[in-house]
């Protein structure tokens, strides 16, 4: 049983462990953010960074409900969009100097976005949060469609197809930032990204944050420790809506325009993919997902037309073979290497990697060849000087051989692992 040396303190993580696991990652994150402007990034690089910052906050807010509370939503962009739209209206009021927010500093606009998103969450969450699981998912989809349709209908609120645009260089300046040049906007985005990350991490450490995990695991038991699971879900939903609205506020200042598209199912689906691909069981997962997918979105869409197909393939592959996402793969690798028998683990890992890369190669050749054939402009996929048309035998060899070989390697690897476990 208990021995004399066990105390309350000894059961809790030591302050060194706390520093290593909690403070240090955030410090590194902040340091990286501070170091980036020193590399003198290009304009494109800056706008990519800004989008990554916005998406980090957005994806983390999504994971508050999916990963921590077990609620799968197909309409999270509604809160992002409504928070953002509210900020666009405030931008207009600041420009005209009218209304209660006529003299509000633009720098703190994301706070208002938080309020707008949380308010939307409070209204919409009420009928939605009764049940979790599939029911919640369906309701979120219906509500999202309704709001998106309304977005195209009420022009004075949403600006119709063209949306609402504004000007961020008005109102009182904060910290000497006029927010005109792109490198000043960077500090604005960086500040709110850090605030969002710290805020949402802190939330996981609060009683409500822990109760939300408890409700995800076992809503029935939550009732018998004196809490109402519906209320837990509802409160978490409101706060997640708030952080999504905060990301919307960041986007409002960054892009100075919002269109009804931002409320639709497309951004809602994208945030789901970002969070899930990153890994919903880890706090850092959605951050990784946001960085990777935002980068892919802006870089790969220049490189290939079929980038959405690659995105879909990646998502399905993660759902089927790596449900803990990229963070799961990364942390699993680190643990595996640290654990005993690192050499064997590393070898097994490399074999899998080779299998995946081979299958990826086959898929890329197939997709790129098909895309060009489908366009019908007579273009041909020509990597490394090869001429891979759909009538070329080499093309089909390059498709079938890697796919079959990669599939065989992966199959064998997973079979060996099963035998090893048994």
């Amino acid at each position: 049983m208990s021995n004399a040396t066990t105390t309350i303190e000894s059961l809790q993580p030591s302050s060194a462990a706390k520093f290593r696991q909690r403070t240090l990652p955030i410090l590194i994150f902040a340091a990286v953010i501070f170091a980036i402007p020193m590399t003198d990034p290009s304009r494109t690089m800056y706008s990519l960074m800004h989008q990554i910052g916005i998406n980090i906050v957005f994806a983390l807010s999504y994971n508050m409900i999916l990963g921590k509370a077990g609620l799968l939503s197909f309409g999270h962009a509604v809160y992002f969009g409504l928070g953002g739209y509210f900020c666009m209206h405030v931008l207009g009021w600041i420009e005209d100097g009218v209304g209660p927010f006529g003299n509000y500093p633009v720098f703190f606009l994301p706070l208002l976005g938080f309020g707008g998103g949380a308010l939307a969450g409070a209204v919409i969450g009420w009928p939605s949060c009764r049940k979790a699981g599939t029911t919640f998912a369906m309701i979120s989809l219906g509500v999202a469609e309704l709001i998106a349709a309304a977005g195209f209908m009420f022009d004075s609120l949403f600006g119709g197809e063209e949306g609402i645009s504004g000007d961020r260089m008005n109102g009182p300046e904060m910290f000497g930032l006029s927010l005109g040049p792109i490198d000043e906007v960077y500090w604005f985005i960086a500040f709110w990204t850090v605030v969002g990350v710290i805020g949402m991490f802190a939330f996981t450490r609060t009683p409500l944050g822990k109760l939300s995990e408890a409700t995800r695991d076992n809503p029935q038991r939550v009732q018998f420790i004196g809490y109402n699971p519906q209320q837990v879900r509802y409160l978490v939903f409101i706060i997640a809506g708030g952080f999504a609205g905060m990301a919307g506020g960041m986007a409002a200042v960054n892009y100075e325009i919002f269109t009804p598209e931002s409320l639709s199912l497309i951004p809602s689906g994208f945030v789901l993919i970002m969070a899930y691909v990153g890994g919903i069981t880890y706090f850092a997962g959605p951050i990784m997902g946001a960085i990777l997918l935002t980068y892919m979105q802006s870089m790969m869409s220049d490189f290939t037309e079929a980038w959405l197909l690659y995105l879909g393939l990646m998502f399905v592959a993660i759902v089927m073979y790596a449900p803990r996402g990229i963070a799961g793969i990364v942390f699993g690798f680190v643990d595996g290497i640290r654990g005993g028998n690192a050499g064997a683990y590393f070898t097994a890992w490399i074999i899998r990697l080779v299998g995946c890369l081979l299958m990826l190669l086959g898929a890329i050749v197939l997709i790129e060849m098909s895309v060009r054939w489908s366009n019908g402009y007579g273009e041909v996929f020509e990597p490394f000087g090869l001429h891979l048309g759909h009538t070329n035998v080499l093309t089909w060899i390059l498709i079938i051989v890697p796919l079959v070989a990669g599939g065989y390697i992966l199959r064998r690897a997973s079979r060996e692992e099963e035998e090893g476990a048994a």
Binding site: T6, I8, T206, P207, K210, A214, V222, F224, L235
Partner: protein, 255 residues
Amino acid sequence: MTTPALSLKNLSKSFGPAKIINDVTLDIAKGERHAIIGPNGAGKSTLFNLISGLYVPTSGTVSLNGTLISGVPPHEINRMGLSRSFQVSNIFANMTVRENVRCGVLHSLGQGYSFWKNIGTQKDVNAKTFEVMEHCGLLDKANTPAALLPYADQRSLEIAITIAGGADVILLDEPTAGMSHSETDRAVDLIARATEGKTLVIVEHDMGVIFNLADRISVLVYGEIIASAPPSEIRGDPKVREAYLGDEALPEEVV
């Protein structure tokens, strides 16, 4: 006469045409250790679900310390001082033992749904969590994820969560089911210590456990209470012997 801790009056529950609980009337005094026994399918778990608010009675009432609680949602009944465990382990599988117990103590310490406090620095929460874990012999497993616990420890954790909130009335649903002899002995010891001075209602199949723990025993057969008396009288009751014939023999002697 003082108000009983728990009072069931003409309680009935039907699922469609099937009458599972039929006109049960039972008073359990404060501080009493009351066991409910009966053959499989007698309605013992249904009775617990009625008392704890999971089911709403078809007719009849349940009162806790004189307050009517039938129809009140489970979380509110829990806040009024009634806590229960489950027959199958019903814990928060993805959390550690410490986090499980901590969730159990939160409400009783007035933490509510707060999202502005750091849970790790709440001194009273940590002290109470420690105390409950110590009480239930779970200290050495405090940081083990609940899903990875051995079965007997999961049952202890189930009890730990149940008593963590400091409720006065504790309902335990087959706490020793599936345990070995030595594990059962330890569990009985734990239950006796953990419910000291409290009202205990326990459903159990292990007669040794019952005769060790209970002040009074009610026998539930086909949704009706056919006898309710101290253990010594129950053993001699011919009706009880008849109901149990071929099911489980009553022990001749208390171990």
